[in-house]
């Protein structure tokens, strides 16, 4: 009797690359680099490059582990069904091993090249995303985006610690800015993109708690973001350029979240306020961190106080 053995082709290298979520990684690299450049002191360009590379590799490893764990869920959702694992272009174990290898390598290189404090925070951030968020809390609570936002908030903290070698108030505030920015950013998107998270049992806020509650929470985070984004200036960690820019950007964010907070989706709703808030939220984060670096350069050169 002959038995048919399913043919398994080796996965294409592009599929391994796709596992690292390259688009998410670009934001990770940008905020990590800004944390590194805004930190007091200096770092050799080779070591700075190594630190950013490790942050990116760690994020890629965590993303691969996330897709390994969620392969079945991804298969049930239109947006993610074409990813390498649900599409059947890769063995599940390969994705797991790839994720572990990237994660371990990133932490080891960070420890050897930069320091073990930065490496320790990087290891914690990977475990936080891959285990605490993906495996434990994402399927259990509608606050999953708030918790997941913590994982995305680590890069500037790690970039800063790579330069200074210590955790101070400033890098913690940079962490807090991304932490409080993530929920309104994501929930604005969740309001106008009808995802099928509910179909696979993931309790996203608009479905689990309803639209009204989600809209009010967007406003609450936008209000909190104003003092938090300006706090680096209040504690004397940045100059006036950052402080004024942070206040202007955060007040614009708040102004755009107001119409989102006090309306309901109607029939054939174009969802313009939500789309506007989402688009601005991306610009907001890029602009805020870019201004942080510009401010540091200006203060270092004595242009502003």
């Amino acid at each position: 009797m002959t038995q048919t053995v399913p043919l398994v082709l080796p996965a294409d290298w592009r599929d391994f690359f796709a596992l690292t979520k390259p688009r998410v990684m670009s934001l990770v690299i940008f905020t990590g680099l800004c944390g590194l450049l805004a930190a007091p002191g200096s770092i050799h360009p080779v070591l700075g490059f190594a630190a950013i590379l490790c942050i990116a590799l760690g994020a890629g490893g965590a993303a691969a582990l996330n897709q390994w764990w969620e392969a079945d869920l991804d298969a049930g959702m239109k947006r993610t069904a074409k990813r390498p694992l649900p599409a059947g272009r890769m063995q599940r174990g390969d994705a797991r091993d790839f994720g572990i290898a990237l994660s371990v390598a990133s932490v080891l290189v960070m420890g050897l090249a930069i320091g073990w404090l930065a490496a320790g925070i990087l290891a914690f951030s990977i475990l936080y995303y891959a285990v605490a968020y993906t495996i434990w809390l994402k399927p259990r609570t509608p606050q999953n985006i708030v918790i997941g936002g913590g994982a995305g908030a680590f890069p500037p903290l790690i970039g800063w610690v790579a330069v200074t070698g210590e955790i101070t108030m400033m890098p913690v505030l940079l962490f807090a800015i991304i932490f409080f920015w993530t929920p309104p950013h994501f929930w604005a998107l969740a309001l106008f993109v009808k995802s099928d998270y509910a179909k696979v049992g993931i309790p996203m806020m608009p479905v689990a708690r309803g639209e009204t509650s989600t809209r009010r929470q967007i406003l609450a985070y936008a209000v909190l973001l104003v003092p938090i984004a300006a706090a680096p200036w209040f504690i004397g960690g940045t100059g006036m350029v950052y402080g004024l820019a942070a206040l202007a950007l955060s007040l614009a964010f708040l102004a755009l979240s107001l119409p989102v907070a006090f309306r309901q989706t109607g029939a054939d709703d174009a969802m313009k306020p939500e789309k506007r808030l989402f688009a601005f939220s991306i610009l907001y984060l890029f602009a805020l961190f870019a201004v942080l670096v510009v401010d540091r350069v200006l203060v270092a050169n004595g242009v502003t106080a």
């Binding site: 294409d12 050799h44 080779v46």
Partner: protein, 41 residues
């Protein structure tokens, strides 16, 4: 395995080997650079 599948398998293996070789070379260069910089600290 059909000839087409065999060709595809070989193409994928070759491209994976090239990428892996490139990554290893990159890390050799990176570790060399890191070592030189750290020795100067």
């Amino acid at each position: 395995m059909t000839p087409e599948e065999d060709t595809e398998r070989k193409r994928r293996q070759r491209s994976r080997n090239l990428v892996m070789g490139g990554v290893l070379l990159f890390f050799v260069a990176l570790f060399y650079a890191i070592t030189i910089v750290r020795m100067g600290d």
